[in-house]
Amino acid sequence: MTKPNSKAVAKVMAITSGKGGVGKTFLSSNLAAAIAKRGHRVLVMDADLGLANLDVVLNLYPKLTLHDVFMGKAQLQECIIKTPGGFDVLLAGSGLVEYSRLTSGVRDDFLRIMESLHPLYDVILLDTGAGISDVVLFAVSLASEVLLVATPEPTSLTDAYATIKVLTSQQKRQQIRMIINQTARLGDGRAITVQLQQVLDRFVSKAQGVNIKLVHTGDIPSDPSVKMAIMRRQLLMLNTPGCPAALAISQLALKLDEAVISRSA
């Protein structure tokens, strides 16, 4: 996988999903905390252009956002928020929804901002929207790694499958990392990934002449602590760091550290 900017320092990972409500923002923020705990400089960026719930999940009330940077009203540094989880957050601001037609000007603005953020961080997590809108595809195109979050439900899997098809055909992605959230039993996430891979092999790989490799990267078990942390608008990793879901996220951070973050640093 090639990086958008060869001079870049930060590893850019897009966290996306086919369907909304599968825990993307929850995972982005808690994974960021887990990676930060491993000693890396982490930024989570709202790549949903103002529709992300990062501010809700993290209980943030930003005065300045990326929208203000685009409008020339603020400097980028002024908009970066430090969180208790040891990572930074950059919110897009609701005004950015207006931008989501993704004109070439907006793309250029975004690329310029990404470029100036690269030297400041080891990891940039892009919290993208659900589905396959232009904005999502653009955000994903900026990332060297795609983490696709799905839950073990038919609707979530169908949408995840559709998203993989599009990422393969539109962006020629050859590898997508799967994270299955809210699994009931050990092994469910792997089984789902196997199933998705088999359908892709049969219906997509042959048709498009490309091999898409799904990498089962982690499962987050169903855990009542997650709901509690969300209701309290706190990070799970700080609230109940020893609960099964938090341990799974730490494990996920370890895997990503070894496979992606520290590999060519």
Binding site: G20, G129, T193, Q198, H216
Partner: protein, 265 residues
């Protein structure tokens, strides 16, 4: 101890201080029945005047349908519902074929009556929760809320058919020129451009409108009296693919994990 702050304003409303004549006359002219007697409680009366004016500002005076203002607001709201609630929706744009020709050859009274009849037939062809709007002289829009692609396509075709078979009886009496449309080789037909928004789609409302507009343009370019649909084929997942995708749900998910899959690193 400071005095308690009163919850209600101390000054009462004096309707005599307000110039409500124009608003009252306007509401009477359109037979707005929700206006209470002047002797009613002043705040209640004023609220009713404001409500009446708001309602008027969203209606098309000729047909009684929603006007462009209400349509645009509804489209933005529906777009948000699609992105957030997981309910799909369909947007239809309908225009009368060769409308300019009709305007040149028929009286304005005749044209108005045709527009009214089309509005009527469109309103009767959709569910109460759907929005039918008149956005321009012969431009109509329909937002089919919580609607799957198959049903939306059926409604689009139904609208086209019903306009084609619209009863024009009694219209010639209103016309300064004589003879029916078909005798002049100008059958009354309409073209429909439709854009489906699958659940969780996140893109701006303007992009949704553009997609429907492109389809309408195609329907016109292909001779009119046609429905053209954008079903967003990128997300299409066939029944065969779904069957294979869900196969694991019937069996034991964890057992399916026994197959090989690229794991973690």
């Amino acid at each position: 101890m400071p005095a308690p702050v009163p919850n209600t304003p101390t000054r009462s409303l004096d309707l005599g201080q307000l110039r409500l004549d124009d608003a009252q006359a306007l509401l009477q002219r359109v037979n707005y029945t929700a206006l209470p007697e002047m002797s009613a409680e002043p705040t209640r009366y004023l609220q009713a005047v404001i409500d009446g004016l708001c309602q008027l500002s969203q209606r098309d005076p000729l047909t009684g349908l929603a006007n462009r203002r209400q349509f645009e607001a509804s489209l933005i709201r529906e777009n948000d519902v699609v992105a957030r609630s997981g309910r799909p929706a369909m947007l239809l744009l309908l225009t009368v074929d060769h409308f300019q020709g009709l305007q040149h050859t028929r009286s304005s009274e005749w044209v108005d009556e045709v527009v009214r009849r089309i509005a009527g037939v469109m309103s009767r062809s959709v569910r109460p929760q759907d929005l039918v709007a008149r956005c321009g002289s012969d431009e109509f829009a329909v937002i089919l809320t919580d609607c799957n692609a198959a049903d939306g396509s059926m409604v689009a075709e139904r609208l086209r058919e019903r306009v084609e078979h619209l009863a024009l009886t009694g219209l010639d009496a209103k016309d300064m020129s004589s003879g029916d449309l078909s005798a002049k080789g100008m059958a009354l037909t309409a073209s429909v451009g439709a854009a489906f928004a699958p659940e969780w789609t996140r893109c701006p409302a303007s992009a949704w409108l553009d997609r429907a507009d492109t389809q309408l343009y195609q329907a016109k370019a292909r001779g009119g009296n046609l429905v053209c649909l954008d079903l967003d084929p990128l997300v299409a997942v066939s029944a065969e693919e779904k069957n294979m995708l869900f196969a694991a749900f019937g069996a034991d998910l964890a057992a399916a994990g026994a197959h090989t899959v690229e794991d973690s690193l």
